[in-house]
């Protein structure tokens, strides 16, 4: 099974065949042989799916909410997919990917894929858009990207979605945390989960207050709409249909206002920037371990050059001598 050719895999992909789509994502994720071909195939066919970013603190109830949304979408005859991102242990490089526990991929027919934060060539910022595009091209819609909104890369990833949903739990003081992480500005929709618990209305009030401040500061005008706040109890399913319709409502708003095209524009710009940076990072690492790099490092160490001047010398060498071997042709 592991020896199937890329052509064979791509032939099976449009029907959303689980095994094929699973394989394609793996190849794209680690930038293996055929990744370029798959990316071309997927990019040409993508653009139909509504991309929904779902984020929130660990334990806020994101996975349970996504599990509920999958059931709502399946009932409506849609074919959703989920990319669930979970942290990798910084010590061992391993990860426990447990988001599927709350999602029934058999009953809902949803495609659920777990991704660890590390272990991708070029990092999460490149692996996620690549995988989302494969799911989009394979006909899944909507495509959900779920991450804990920790760290700038993760905020960028969910912020680049068509609709970004921030989940906060009752009584967690999440509103302040979210505002620290910059998530409030990127969220198009707020979900206050565990609404049956004490503190749910406080959380709602906090969010409302923050949104009011957004109006004062002019942020609301720039984004063109005031994000909705939906109360849910994911464990019972209460309010989940409300989240699904708020997502649809936002999708309509995006299309009618022309924002959807702008979101796409931002996403592409972000990804091209990230990919260009990743290419340069590889070149820098390569140069630093070469003879020229060692000369520059040594000069800085002897205080013959400042670290900044050594860095300029390294960068100048990269600009002067274009590298013919792209990462695609340089696999060890």
């Amino acid at each position: 099974m592991r020896a199937e050719s890329i052509e064979e895999l791509l032939a099976g992909a449009p029907s959303g065949e689980r095994r094929v789509v699973g394989r394609l994502i793996s190849i794209v994720e680690r930038d293996g042989d055929g990744a370029e071909e798959i990316a071309e195939w997927a990019h040409a066919r993508s653009g139909r799916a509504h991309i929904v970013g779902i984020t929130g603190a660990p334990g806020a109830g994101k996975s349970t909410l996504v599990g509920g949304l999958l059931a709502v979408w399946a009932k409506a005859g849609r074919r959703p997919a989920v990319l669930a991102v979970d942290p990798t242990s910084p010590l061992t490089g391993g990860a426990i990917l447990g988001d599927r526990v709350r999602m029934d991929s058999v009953a809902t027919g949803a495609f659920v894929r777990s991704m660890a934060t590390r272990g991708h060539r070029g990092g999460l910022a490149l692996a996620v858009p690549g995988a989302v595009r494969v799911l989009d091209a394979a006909g899944f819609d909507p495509v959900v990207v779920e991450t804990t909104g920790v760290g700038q890369v993760e905020v960028d990833i969910v912020g680049a979605a068509d609709t970004t949903v921030l989940v906060v739990a009752a009584g967690w003081g999440d509103a302040v945390q979210a505002s620290k992480a910059g998530l409030l500005e990127v969220a198009d929709l707020f979900v206050v989960n565990k609404a049956d618990r004490h503190g749910a209305h406080d959380a709602r009030r906090d969010l409302d207050l923050m949104l009011d401040l957004g109006r004062v500061s002019g942020h609301e005008d720039r984004r063109g709409h005031r994000p909705e706040i939906v109360m849910t109890t994911s464990t019972t399913g209460h309010g989940v249909e409300g989240v699904a319709s708020a997502i649809d409502e936002h999708r309509r708003h995006l299309v009618e206002s022309g924002e959807r095209a702008r979101a796409y524009h931002r996403r592409i710009a972000l990804e091209v920037r990230d990919r260009a940076q990743a290419l340069l990072v590889t070149r820098v690492a390569k140069l630093l371990s070469s003879e020229d790099g060692r000369v520059a490092l040594d000069a800085a160490e002897r205080r013959a050059m400042t670290p900044a001047a050594a860095a300029r010398a390294v960068a100048a060498r990269i600009i002067a001598a274009p590298d013919r071997t792209s990462p695609e042709h340089d696999r060890s």
Partner: protein, 134 residues
């Protein structure tokens, strides 16, 4: 830059069997050995495990069986994977009598781990099973 992709393994308990403590310990052991553990937890079926292995493009399946139905459930899992043309080894852990362990191996189970298995033995069993297939 990562040199080799991490082993991805799906861990599950099949049917009505609420004893998931062992499986959680195994998940942690495998994570600490650098693997990506896709944890499905309780009340899974052969069908739901096959779906997860396909979508996650996993290399192996680890089952924890503590309800004496291993002779039924483990071969069913091996059969379901084969029926879906998935070449992923099945590793079984739990309370398995020696005679039954032999029978499970004959039925295509790659390794059987008892309650006394050390962390190293668990990791080695998974690595060997995956290496044996690729």
């Amino acid at each position: 830059m990562p040199h080799r992709p991490a082993i991805r393994i799906v861990l599950a308990k099949l049917g009505l069997d609420g004893h998931d403590r062992g499986l959680k310990v195994v998940a942690r052991i495998l994570r600490d050995a650098g693997m990506e553990v896709i944890y499905l937890g309780l009340r899974q079926s052969a069908e739901s495990v096959v779906a997860a292995v396909e979508q996650e493009d996993a290399h192996a399946v680890g089952l924890s069986l503590h309800n004496a139905s291993h002779l039924t459930l483990a071969p069913r899992m091996v059969g379901a994977l084969a029926a879906a043309a998935i070449d992923a080894p099945v590793i079984v852990g739990g309370i398995i009598p020696d005679d039954d362990a032999d029978e499970l191996r004959r039925a295509g189970v790659a390794a059987v781990l008892g309650p006394g298995a050390s962390a190293d033995e668990v990791v080695r069993a998974v690595r060997d099973a995956v290496a044996g297939r690729s």
